[in-house]
Symmetry: C2
Subunit: 287 residues, 2 copies
């Protein structure tokens, strides 16, 4: 058995894993790194682990290893596979236990990730372009089992900023579950068009509403489509494309892939426990 | 003589113009359309005009003719020249005077402008690509003295949203007057690169700071360069390119043009009074 912890900006999850990596128990809290603001890590984690056996291997991944976390685990430069991660684990004393923290990855042109290295490990990819939707959507190139490089898009966070803090967002209405797809598809197509500029398409969407060419309920899914379509336009996905993650956002990306005619498959909706298990195994931390 | 009024979202300016269009007096207040929030137009304008002669032609342009203004002046579809604007003036009674409002323009793909049609008229362009920097930067194609079409970029407003409401902005430090140019140039170049994606470059800028590749004081000018560079990448300016406007922002665009090797010239820094005069003349409103 071992304990795996996925500790991100907004969420903390602890897994009790069997000797074969199967999840025996999961506990979660909303004590994300942003919430904690630099302290109280022991108090946040201890209640989740209190009745799990002492002495188990404890491996943590995510923003807990960032400058804002309990201890900084320096980024490992790409290309980086399981052995590279295993060699760079950083010891930590937390919640009364000895543990290790998984480092994030860096690459050139300058980019960083933290937490996704574990999801990639958990997905067990050998050669693929992995897309991980989110506030900061990651496109990760994996070859021969190692991450070769990646690119991060500010998609989710930028959508929120546009919706809440620009003149475009002021016209937004709730989307209609029956027809949001049409407007989303239009946004994806526009972003993939010749000489498309996302910053112009954002204003153009507002104009389209003012001119009666787009209903106000279509503005939100259209803008979402523009930002996701901009990823597709820049990545030009080909070969094996794997969508990693769960929930409504991944379904949206899958729709964008489909309408753009891009073949894709789905990775595991929650790859964190398997990733922590595989990294622990590679580091020789399992009995 | 006539009275011209440029009434935008954040500012109100009134001009007393001579028979040849020269500005005899200017008065301004910060009673922009956003500030007024749908009312108090008379009270905002009257004090600026109170001792100017009664009975003068009064022409207003800008957001005062929008849905949030005193009366909506419907957009005129491109192509549109002076005669088209002149035919579409909308009468208004305001501040105890009879006036006319200049309409905005619309085009396809859907886009709108309001106020810039007057600046274009004031610049006296016949054939050119005009760039008007701002919260919503406009690129306007003029041929044979008429606006053929245009495209709006959310550049300024998006910069503010990114700086104030995203993880990228959290690392921003004040820029250094001695070296911001270097980082700005890097941002412009990055945005004009092959398969560049502004949304990825924004996150990449944060990563570059975390990795020590970009100083924190370089983040703000770099992001500014990325967003302005994205305009250049999409517009591919050629032929006669005219920068219209004044102040530091126009200087920034000029720098981007220069480093990108794009020939350009400057239009009048304040084209509003001349534009109002020319439209009034085209409408036969001058004695």
């Amino acid at each position: 058995m071992m304990i795996g912890v996925d500790w991100g900006t907004s969420r903390l999850r602890a897994f009790l894993l069997d000797g074969d990596g199967a999840v025996r128990a999961t506990r979660a809290s909303d004590a994300g790194i942003v919430t904690l603001d630099g302290g109280g890590f022991d108090a946040a984690l201890a209640p989740l682990l209190h009745d799990w056996p002492a002495g188990l291997t404890l491996l943590l991944c995510g923003m807990i290893g960032s400058r804002q976390g309990v201890v900084e685990a320096p980024y490992v430069a790409c290309p980086a596979g399981l052995p590279d991660l295993a060699r760079a684990l950083v010891p930590v004393r937390i919640a009364g236990r000895d543990g290790m923290i998984v480092p994030g990855l860096s690459c050139a042109p300058p980019d960083v990730l933290r937490g996704e290295e574990t999801l990639i490990a958990g997905a067990g990819l050998s050669d693929a372009l992995a897309c991980l939707p989110g506030s900061h959507a990651k496109w990760v190139r994996v070859a021969e089992g190692a991450v070769q490089g990646f690119r991060t898009y500010l998609t989710g966070e930028l959508f929120a900023a546009v919706a809440q803090h620009t003149i475009v967002g002021r016209l937004m209405q709730p989307e209609d579950p029956l027809d949001w797809q049409d407007f989303f598809d239009q946004g994806v197509a526009a972003a993939r068009g010749d000489r498309a500029a996302p910053t112009a398409l954002l204003f153009g969407a507002r104009a389209a509403v003012l001119l009666g060419r787009l209903p106000a309920r279509g503005l939100r899914p259209y803008v979402s489509g523009v930002l996701i379509g901009a990823e597709l336009a820049a990545e030009v996905p080909r070969g094996r494309v794997v969508l990693i993650g769960g929930g409504e956002l991944v379904a949206r990306y899958a729709r964008a892939f489909t309408t753009a005619g891009i073949a894709h498959e789905f990775g595991p909706p929650d790859a964190a426990p398997a990733g922590l298990f595989r990294i622990a195994a590679a580091a020789g931390l399992l009995p």
